[in-house]
Symmetry: D3
Subunit: 247 residues, 6 copies
């Protein structure tokens, strides 16, 4: 069930049965020669909707922009500042909590969001913990990597042996291409497998080390069939994680 | 052309021919008994994509959340604070400008965003104007109401004579329903035409005056056919406005 | 009645009879070759005091600085950032509300303040609407253009036929000159009527298009007599608008 | 010369001869049974204009609101938060500096502003000092107590022997009453001399200790003649301090 | 070499040979019945000074407060908000970078700081990456867990078999007690091994689950001898990590 | 009693007997040719611990960084922005107040912190004073100059006749050297007595006027014996001031 496609009466009915909501969050940043700029948020959005359909959970509109400063050396990449992410996540949680939502399950398609998402939760929790009245709040937030479950990571490693990498990878590029987007880019990549990751600093450093945007990956052979398979596995993984969070 | 579905190489090619980008912005808020909570951002997104397809302009991922404090009395509504909107819009503009975008055309589906969008542009412009170096910046931002053009408003007034209203209206409810969302809610509305608008203050005041969420409107008879017609008109209007802005 | 000239005992007495207060807000920015830099706040202040005297409303000290980034290309212009205006308006409202004021009527002499004033009200209202306790607040804010009423705009159009313009206009320049300020600048203007307005961006763009600061206006013939007439009309307009707001 | 009453051409001419500007800053807060709420900003404004007239210095529009949290227990008092004052002072300095002002002389009518004014200057100076380019900035800010000079304090002590006090005092109440404001409040005060000052904390504590708002003072006998004398002395003091600052 | 104990001339000399600096960061929060409230920052400080002595690296003054909202249910615990940590870390980095430091190695004694430290680095890096001039910055930040290296974790697991836990653990409690603080608290703990960790939310939830503050640990038998051994191992680990970072 | 060396049970016991806590605050900035960069925070820390030991007051971990923008022209100096100091002080006060502390006595080793500390207290007090509920808060904050008492200033003036100065002075340099830090720098100073203070602006201006960092002082003859004597006097002074504050 998508929040965007519900009426407010339908949301009230849903709240009779559950206090949980899934929020997809990703990024808008380069994903190498054949990866879509929206890869991370498309992955998060499709997997979240898959989970919502499978187990009847409400899914909020996608946060399509994230922490992507590393990628600003490549055209089309957008970053939010940490303070912007903290504010945005907090506003969404506080607004939905006002009318009854209590459990916020963020399905995250972008590793760069983890620290800032955690900082956003810390910010909300600090306000609760400092509150003079001293009553516990029912609000709980949790972030899970969209393709980080066991069902999704095993076949991804098998499909891209030794070249899964850490950006523009075989776990993230294919599911986005399995989305309604039909145009799947083709690209010659050289070297076939991109340089492996080291510590990352600013975007100048990033582009110098990883000139086509990939880190340690060879997504050149990713296909919609890979995407379909990984998508299904990720939906299973995230559905389990959501059920655990709600328990 | 959608930024989310492009690779960074494709964005670089696009920048050879144009410095403009369309950013859809809307809200996540109640739209009465049969209006979708995502109405405003779905409208903005579909119209923006329509314009992008029609004239080859790049379309950025949608900002699905906006200034909606009036609506917090109804379940499922979300508001950003003004400072959050200012920060988010500024981050997107600064990021895209870094690699060559110069003209930012926001197609806005929600009246409540106008002041905050303008404040966000003021914030960016103040930084430019105060800058000691004293060089003019090529960055320009503009916001246009998605259904505010002459082609869209005339038939909307004709389809809903005397009951177009100012929230959950016949201009905004139908286009969202024409979207891929198949499930069109049906609802009995009483009174048929909602009370007319007066000044709006906080969400308690709003819910007391407009108990089912509508203001001055009767969207009960809105159909996908209305949506299709209004959508097509709005795309024409916005395409013209974009061309004027880029000239 | 002016707040600055009252004692706190007198304010307590006033609050027995009314919960309303008028706050004049303007700008400190160039107004062309013969317009005063304080035009907008002087207009707002004199009209507000006129309304206060006429109907016994309390008038707060003037906010003399506003959103004026367009004008930073001209010496003596000052701008606040949007976040500063939001903070300042919020502090004033919260402070006065603490001891009983509930209705805040801003008489605004500068079009550039409208969006930021609205954002400031949105900020205050969001805090009210998000508040967990769920009680409506009595606080209401409203902004009205000092010279935007029907009584003031009609004669201004007649006095400056075809050359009223949109900055350094015949509606705003004369009332400020009718103020205690005796020194009325004289200036040769060329062209007589300044170029008409288009979209405005940063201050470099502004100065290039409107080299003497005026937009579409010919204030060269403005006289204290014009000012006296427009001032009286504006006081009538604003007194009506205040009464409507307080009803 | 008042900035508000100048045209931008006149400001350009002034900048040929001087880079200095005087900014009056005060408060809007209770001043006891017969003191005006605007006492501090009226004092600062009249003394600043007196200095401007005497030595031909430019005077900016008055900052009428300040740090007044202690006084929020009395109707009509307004406080800005420290962050608001820092932002406002910084915006004014940065805007005026853009077109050539370099020396900012704040004539301050309210002791509670001293720390926040200093913090505002620290904020501006930190930005200068951290700047990578490593060039010294010509911008200098200074704050002076409007009635703190030797010429003003001596007769004030003589006029109110043993009862000058530290709020609603004989140095600040009379000059404001010498202003165009004709209505001079009369009030019976009991005790004649208010309790002496101790450390100040929040507004509840303040009102409990000083129930009519005065601290250590007996302003009941203040007259416009006192005001005239103290005003003239303060203008002399501030003119000297300004000349020293500009040297 | 400690920055606090150097003169500025000595710092200039140091910068001729190295651009690196170590910043210890910890927390001020409860650590169970016999753990010191300063455990995390004392650990970080002593290990950092140990590394500094061993390899001649400069060590900055300790950040003794961190993100500790979970612990606010226990007296003496202090938390910073995420925005405060981001600001503080940024100010320190920018200040030291101004005169030549380039590599910032944070030795962190508290797991709760990881996300906020990363957000602080993201904030600094975003400013670099968005900068229009497009030059890479030499500034690099890295955070390492003070007791997270292989030399320290192995013996800790051996010393506290099955009861190392995740708060008030045998890795963190002993080194702080090995510090100059002689008074080692003794406490009866019940149960001997605290409940194991689950997800953590606000401080009410925390105290309900872990009533004496410990999570999964049995630090009752920790001794200064343990502390000495773990301290020495951690210094070795961190010295290696620093050398790798500087390479 | 040091908070860092207590367990949370011990803090609870302390709160049965006292609601007061001492917070040392200083700076990390150059102190001339033979002064330690940590002088100000070392002084504050040692004196605070001395007071704590003497009268059984709790001492919180030291805030080692402060407002030091003047000194950024000298290697090793660090400044916080005013907004950072306000946030940090507020977080510490709010956290400790949550579990029962009410009186916060800041022992300050650095004059540059006074305005920002006051602004931080104003910020906390404004929140209290604006609070709608209208109940007085027990929280009180006070800042005292570590070496500003009568017992410490008299011998300092005697030890450094005519050359006490205002930065890198004989009151502050010796006590830090009396600390466990054994290495006491020796330096030739020229001129023997540094130039006297005038108004201070940014760091470029500072370094030009005071090229070796000192202002008006001759600390070349400071000895650990001076430090011991001044330290003992300052502990007496501060113990008295704390008792007065707590009364």
């Amino acid at each position: 069930m998508q929040l965007a496609l519900a009426t407010w009466h339908e949301v009230e009915e849903y709240l009779q049965t559950s206090r949980g909501i899934i929020v997809p969050v990703g990024s808008t940043e380069q994903h190498g020669p054949n990866g879509l700029i929206g890869t991370d948020h498309l992955d998060a959005e499709f997997i979240a909707k898959g989970v919502g359909d499978k187990i009847g959970a409400m899914v909020a509109p996608t946060l399509a922009y994230g922490m992507s400063q590393h990628h600003l050396g490549f055209a089309g990449s957008v970053t939010l500042r940490p303070s912007t992410m903290i504010a945005m996540v907090g506003d969404i949680v506080r607004s939905l909590a006002r009318n009854g939502f209590e459990r916020f399950f963020f399905i995250n398609g972008h590793g760069g969001n983890i620290a800032n998402g955690r900082a956003a939760f810390d910010d909300a929790l600090t306000a609760q913990s400092l509150h003079a009245n001293g009553r516990p709040s029912p609000i709980r937030c949790h972030m899970e990597a969209s393709s980080g479950g066991t069902r999704a990571t095993a076949p991804a490693r098998a499909l891209f042996p030794g070249a899964l990498g850490s950006h523009a990878t075989g776990v993230e590029v294919p599911p986005a291409q399995f989305s309604p987007a039909e145009a799947i880019p083709r690209a010659q990549m050289s070297p076939m497998v991109a340089p492996a990751s080291t510590s990352l600093f600013d975007c100048f450093d990033y582009r110098r080390r990883y000139p086509d945007g990939r880190i340690g990956s060879d997504p050149s052979l990713s296909t919609p069939q890979h995407g379909e398979r990984l998508f299904a596995a990720a939906v299973e993984d995230m559905a389990d994680a959501y059920r655990t969070f709600m328990a």
